[in-house]
Symmetry: C2
Subunit: 205 residues, 2 copies
Amino acid sequence: MTREIPDIVIGRLPIYLRELIRLAEDEGKINTSSHELGKRLGISSAQIRKDLSHFGEFGKQGTGYHINYLVTQLREILQLSQEWHVAVVGAGYLGHALAHYHGFEHRGFRISWIFDSDPEKIGQQMDQLVVLDVANLEKVIAENNVKVAIIVVPASHAQEITDRLVAVGVRSILSYAPIHLAVPAGVEISYSDPVIQLQRMTYYL
Amino acid sequence: MTREIPDIVIGRLPIYLRELIRLAEDEGKINTSSHELGKRLGISSAQIRKDLSHFGEFGKQGTGYHINYLVTQLREILQLSQEWHVAVVGAGYLGHALAHYHGFEHRGFRISWIFDSDPEKIGQQMDQLVVLDVANLEKVIAENNVKVAIIVVPASHAQEITDRLVAVGVRSILSYAPIHLAVPAGVEISYSDPVIQLQRMTYYL
């Protein structure tokens, strides 16, 4: 995949997709416009048209976008037509919350495995999953050709787990550990740290 | 607070701060350089110098930055010298995880209240907190002059809770609900949706 399209554009596509699905499923709409979508998302309609123009011509002057068609196209662009099986590493409170979160369904992902190193957690049931021994991480990842993982281990273990995941083929990592992680080229990493997000906002208080 | 400094610059300051604290506390370092910091964060040293130059002159040619001094300055800029008391709305799995998360301490925040509407959850103990009735949300927020809140309610309730928080003075909201929320000018909102983050990455797979 080339990097000709800016990362920031790619980053907005899932937000458009989420709002389009909402328009269709929750509000029963068939068509929308860049104007309507932009107003709902606080993004200019010109920005939305420009972002989508990287990938083709999805709307018509006057009638706007056919929502289901645009949803299908965005899912294809983001490679969400298939369902990605996701490994979660760490079965603490947050891993537990992720295992029980049903927001992944129908959005392209399924949490299929959860790992921990704590003997008291291994074998425990979490929603539909049983906590696996992290000693078997490489085996499970390799056998199932897993490409996507979520890290919810303490900062002190996050780099080691990242290295192990990458070594057996994981290419997309979402990390909740409050630490910057080093990954080789070709591996995407994304972070979620509530404190970083809160600190950015207190500047404006 | 003026918007003269780009949001994206403000967004990087907490990341610098986190890494500086790591260098000092975990590795015992006294000084660092924009080069070292940049290498660890995958950000160019020129970018770091440019970002920091918005706020003053923190380093010296040759000796670089004195870490403790820069940490103190960044904390002041981000208004983290005080501790912000945070209200969490929603005591589901994720609210539970947040209540037990000790990563807020020493980073400027303390989860001081957690609310829910479920009679079975109200009164329940979560780490140091007792789940409060969301009917008392406005009273608690107003009496304690709370400015910062975290929303972990279902998408269907997130806008209503946002409106209620904003009406009684909350100005910084971190939302885990998978929905775009409308807030008036002067209120900062930040989102955390693991699916949006994963979807951005599958594009590159």
